[in-house]
């Protein structure tokens, strides 16, 4: 069963699409979905004002599939607290995409704004474009960061990605903003592009690998060893890496793998290598 919502009348107003989860739509006709009310700014407005809704009975598998077509940069909470089923956004995905998600699959063709996969428990999110800040982060003041599931971003991500992360995997093909994995507690982050720095600030656990260029590392990290691969638990990456442990100010056991050949300016750390033997 597949619902297709075409965003034919876009609005600048913040559009809260949290009611649109596969569980909520199960068994509803296209008409019923069109009459569902969502917050646009401060008013509850029928979906039909913004989307026309089609129901394509795919029928071959049981779980509900929702496809939203259009530039939803102002939308919020697409796939919020989703437990199963599949959602696909053909266009931009907006803020809080897949927030506190427990299961199911969300794919977004375009970009997404900040707080994507915030507090995620399980399931998977794939972003073909770029993501904003706080990817998989915890809510303000909370230490319940992303604890499971996978977020794959083919573009780049903003700052403080994976803040207070506890588990799961973040895989970024592009580059990442500063404070990647700030206050990280567990899980793994793989960034294939560059990162300006302040990686793993205040981290107490978890593993981060940056394959591209990194400007500098915080003083609260110490070099541990040179490795031939980066073992992030959920994924392994071959190649020469400097491995740093920290954040020492938090007595952290986090690991940061920095690619050797991309970062010749890190060679200074080799003189500290031999000190333990």
């Amino acid at each position: 069963m597949e619902y297709v919502l075409k965003y034919y009348k876009p609005t600048r107003l913040p559009l809260d699409l949290s009611p649109l989860s596969p569980e909520a739509l199960e068994g509803k006709s296209a008409g019923e979905v069109a009459e569902m009310k969502v917050y646009a700014g401060k008013r509850m407005i029928e979906l039909s004002r913004f989307f026309n809704v089609e129901l394509r009975a795919s029928g071959e598998d049981q779980h509900v599939k929702i496809t939203i077509v259009g530039d939803l940069r102002n939308a919020r909470r697409i796939g919020c607290e989703m437990k199963g089923g599949e959602m696909r956004v053909v266009g931009n995905g907006g803020i809080y995409l897949g927030e506190r998600m427990k299961g199911g699959v969300i794919t977004v063709e375009g970009d997404v704004d900040s707080w994507t996969g915030s507090g995620m428990r399980g399931g998977s999110i794939t972003i073909n474009g770029s993501a904003g800040d706080f990817l998989g982060a915890s809510y303000r003041g909370s230490r319940e960061g992303m604890s499971g599931g996978v977020i794959q971003v083919n573009g780049s991500i903003g700052c403080e990605g994976g803040a207070w992360m506890k588990g799961g995997l973040i895989h970024v093909k592009g580059s990442a903003g500063p404070f990647l994995g700030v206050h990280m507690q567990g899980g793994s982050i793989l960034v294939e592009g560059n990162c300006p720095g302040r990686v793993g600030a205040g981290m107490i656990g978890g593993r981060i690998a940056v394959l591209g260029k990194m400007l500098n590392l915080l003083p609260s990290f110490t070099v541990d060893s040179v490795r031939t691969h980066a073992d992030l638990g959920a994924v392994k990456v071959e190649g020469g890496f400097y491995m740093f442990t920290g954040d020492n100010n938090e007595q952290g056991q986090g690991r940061i793998y920095v690619s050797k050949d991309e970062n010749p300016h890190f060679a200074w750390c080799e003189k500290y290598l031999g000190r333990w033997e």
């Binding site: 900040s114 904003g132 800040d133 706080f134 903003g158 700052c159 403080e160 903003g177 500063p178 300006p196 720095g197 302040r198 400007l215 500098n216």
Partner: protein, 120 residues
């Protein structure tokens, strides 16, 4: 990028905007007074940097950032040495140059912005 911020020969600087006593008094007195309008279109540079770019006190200069450009009156900073750092008091002129990006914190970047300085 972070960390290295030395003066490059082609005039790349870090812009810092902030309060000054006169700007503070001016905002209380009135935002269209002569004194206030003069104070908020001043750009303080380190005397060494002015020599490097052969800029003279009181000369009209153009400051460019990724977000805009503005004409300002150059002034030798009394708070030197601060090579590579230029200062403009808060106000509509500085707002032409500051960054709207809030890095998810709600706070636009009003200090430490990449800027270039050209003779007017």
């Amino acid at each position: 990028m972070v960390g290295e911020c030395l003066v490059d020969l082609n005039g790349r600087f870090k812009l810092v905007t902030g309060r000054t006593l006169i700007q503070g008094m001016g905002k209380e007195r009135g935002k269209f007074t002569e004194e206030y309008l003069k104070e908020i279109s001043i750009c303080e540079l380190d005397p060494e940097d002015m020599k490097l770019l052969s800029i003279v006190e009181g000369e009209l200069i153009i400051v460019k950032t990724e977000f805009g450009e503005a004409k300002l009156v150059a002034k030798a900073s009394t708070r030197a040495p601060h090579r590579g750092v230029i200062f403009i008091p808060y106000g509509p002129v500085a707002s032409l140059l500051t960054s709207p990006h809030t890095d998810g914190s709600g706070m636009p970047s009003l200090k430490g912005i990449e800027a270039e300085v050209f003779k007017g």
